[in-house]
Subunit: 122 residues, 2 copies
């Protein structure tokens, strides 16, 4: 499953890595973020060689069980490039700026509509 | 690639879905978050049936190009369950509370250590 890593305090999304059940178990029981490397086919503890550890504050599973959100205290940079976050390459959104419907912006209430679908395609 | 969806303003991580190049292109050019359903093998625009649209504010690619962070204005609930976020199932972290090294907590500065590795396994 995908592991989305968020920094405690700032709320910044730092990186995305992969976990299997064992990596998740190790993360929960050791308090150190532990991932599964799909390319190297091995477990790795974040910071093991770099010192840039991630101390786990909370872990939440998503509604369909294919992602976890891991909230961490990040030591040093999360990204191997030295950046604070791996998501530093901003892509241009070329769409015309679309405004929210007036009711939503004004009231902050959701625009309700019938939902006939199932799964996560809401 | 994995698309991590974050709410503009609150910074809440709302959901995770999948994009291919075409879904990313559509997201950037239409300003509406568009995903690729791996199970249904089709594109879907968030909110198309539920009304819970995502107006795209920013998109960032991660350092190894296998994830994007999509910042959106979310109309209504992001999760098909009606929850604000899909990550509502908190798992117990059973590790003893580990404190950050004193230098890191006191100064907020990164603990520096040599990094000999490459890739995202920092």
């Amino acid at each position: 499953m995908a592991a989305i890593v968020r920094e405690h305090g700032t709320g910044d999304v730092l990186m995305m890595a992969w976990m299997d059940d064992e990596a998740l178990h190790r993360t929960l029981t050791t308090g150190r973020a532990t991932y599964w490397s799909r390319s190297r086919q091995e477990y790795w503890v974040k910071g093991e060689t770099s010192g840039h550890h991630q101390y786990v504050k909370a872990v939440s599973l998503d509604c369909d069980g294919d992602a976890v959100l891991v909230t961490v205290e990040q030591v040093g940079a999360a990204c191997h490039t030295g950046n604070h976050t791996c998501f530093f390459d901003e892509l241009p959104v070329t769409a015309p700026k679309t405004e929210l419907p007036a009711t939503a912006t004004k009231t902050g209430l959701p625009v309700t509509a019938p939902t006939a679908e199932t799964g996560t395609q809401a």
